[in-house]
């Protein structure tokens, strides 16, 4: 039944793209985020729907779409270099079979991220992609939010429809993504033109934001809690009533603690006492190992190079009944532990060169988007009112990702690469319109003296 539903759904989606070929890009984003082939049982598994959608989107862009405004930006070039470099390290990987398996999905994400900015050349396309990405992620977030309210969830326990714990369906990843998209949801509720601001849209947006906040609680991921705290701080910083909101948020958090599942509060306590937690101790040991590994393998060991690690470390635990607890120091030997950090993931797998490219990409995105935000925040032109808030939403989401990435190996997460591609396209879009200002009307007719501005 589910198979037929997804098949019919995709058929309708593809049919609509006949009228507006850009929808093919949205179809690919939908397939990449929701992975309908993993939600169905047999039919879709046998059809390479993702490849078909990408090939059609590429063909439609190459043959039909207007390429006058398409630009190949510096960030796309860096993504291309990263793609080539990852290909080289895969060819010489420490673990060729495992590296090839990871390469099989990483290259597709990178290629799509390189291609995406070429298609994003109107305001509505930015909005459409943001909206579809959020609605697709909401298929996981809504189910996770409701289940958390009803059952409380648990680390590795909350059922997010798919059992294989990969892609966005992995607990820490969806926790980070759910928090990172909150600013974009709020932006869409205020500046959206597909679903224009109304009471219904605002209520749904707020409910979805609530579900997003519930995801780190339901999955009991410490990374998610840190992301909530960071986003809260960032939003307060930008708020006019920061003291009032800050006090309200603190009071709300204090009131909410007794309602949280006890397994959540006890797990969150391990952020402070990380030595008693094996997963946190392992992380520190893996990061140290990766740091040394990069020194001896500056070119990188290829995907999954962490598999060669092995180390013994001390784990400190409190055992016994409360009141008569004693400290026990355990010698633990671990082998092949994953990086648990995107930064170390890239450093170990792609070496210094790959890390430099990856870091440059993020740095350029952060700086570029912050620049746009600064330049347009005092803009009073109603036609450009969406620009600064959109830049801010992208920037806040990006910062949340950069924090989450410190604890989760999500360097090549397709969803994040799409957000990066969107930032690259946004920068070229703004630059193009700024260049054209003076000779061609931009965005929409300006209400205040367009001639004077043109002359300036």
């Amino acid at each position: 039944m589910r198979d037929l539903f997804f098949l019919a759904y995709l058929a309708v989606f593809f049919a609509m793209a006949l009228k507006r070929p850009f929808l093919l890009v949205l179809v690919y984003a939908y397939i990449d985020i929701v992975s309908p082939q993993r939600l169905s049982y047999f039919l879709l598994n046998s059809i390479p729907i993702s490849a078909i959608a990408f090939a059609l989107a590429l063909m439609a862009w190459a043959t039909i779409d207007n390429k006058r405004d398409s630009r190949f930006s510096a960030r796309q070039f860096i993504l291309f270099l990263l793609l080539v470099y990852c290909g080289l390290t895969t060819a010489h990987a420490d673990f060729p079979v495992e590296a090839a398996a990871k390469w099989a999905w990483v290259w597709k994400s990178l290629v799509f991220a390189i291609f995406l900015p070429l298609t994003l050349r109107t305001r509505l396309r930015f909005e459409a992609l943001s909206l579809i990405m959020i609605l697709c992620a909401s298929s996981i977030i809504v189910t996770g939010g409701i289940k958390t309210i009803l059952a409380g969830g648990g680390y590795g326990v909350l059922n997010l429809m798919v059992d294989d714990n990969s892609g966005l369906y992995e607990g820490s990843t969806i926790s980070m993504v759910a928090i990172a998209i909150i600013p974009l949801i709020l932006w869409l509720a205020k500046y959206g033109t597909i679903f224009r601001p109304s009471r219904l849209v605002r209520i749904y947006a707020l409910a979805l934001c609530g579900a997003c906040v519930l995801i780190p609680i339901g999955t009991e991921t410490r990374t998610g809690l840190l992301c909530i705290m960071l986003l809260g701080g960032l939003m307060l910083w930008r708020s006019r009533h920061r003291i009032a909101f800050g006090v309200a948020a603190l009071a709300l958090a204090l009131v909410a603690i007794p309602f949280l599942p006890s397994s959540f509060t006890s797990r969150m306590n391990t952020i402070e006492n990380y030595q008693s937690d094996e997963s946190a101790s392992t992380r520190l040991a893996v990061w140290e190992w990766t740091w040394d590994y990069a020194k001896s393998h500056p070119g990188g060991g290829g995907f999954d190079a962490y598999r060669s690690n092995s180390f013994t470390y001390d784990s400190i635990k409190l055992v016994g009944e409360p009141g008569s607890e004693r400290v026990v120091r355990d010698h633990v030997t671990d082998k092949g532990r994953a990086y648990h950090s995107a930064y170390f993931e890239v450093l170990g797998e792609q070496g210094y060169v790959g890390f430099a490219l990856w870091a440059m990409l993020h740095l350029m995105s952060l700086v570029g988007t912050a620049r746009i935000q600064r330049r347009y925040r005092a803009n009073t032109d109603p036609a450009q009112a969406w620009i600064a808030p959109f830049a801010l939403a992208l920037q806040q989401g990006h910062l949340v990702y950069l924090l989450g990435a410190a604890f989760v190996g999500i360097a090549y997460q397709p969803f994040i690469l799409m957000l990066l591609a969107m930032q690259a396209a946004f920068a070229t879009y703004i630059a193009r319109h700024e260049r054209a200002r003076g000779s061609v009307p931009i965005f929409a007719p300006r209400p205040v003296q367009p001639k004077q501005e043109a002359a300036a």
Binding site: R20, N66, L124, C136, V142, I146, I194
Partner: protein, 45 residues
């Protein structure tokens, strides 16, 4: 049950969004936004 609800809700909204995009000329051509905006204000009036 919850899974189906979530899937139906999100997929329904995606479809509705795409349906609305079909009639938006400014999806492909920014200058069409002006026409759409003026048409909107006429509709509202």
């Amino acid at each position: 049950m919850i899974d189906s609800f979530s899937l139906l809700l999100s997929h329904g909204l995606v479809l509705l969004a795409c349906w609305r995009l079909l009639s938006r000329r400014d999806l492909d051509d920014e200058s069409a936004a002006d026409t759409a905006a003026s048409q909107d204000s006429q509709d509202l009036a």
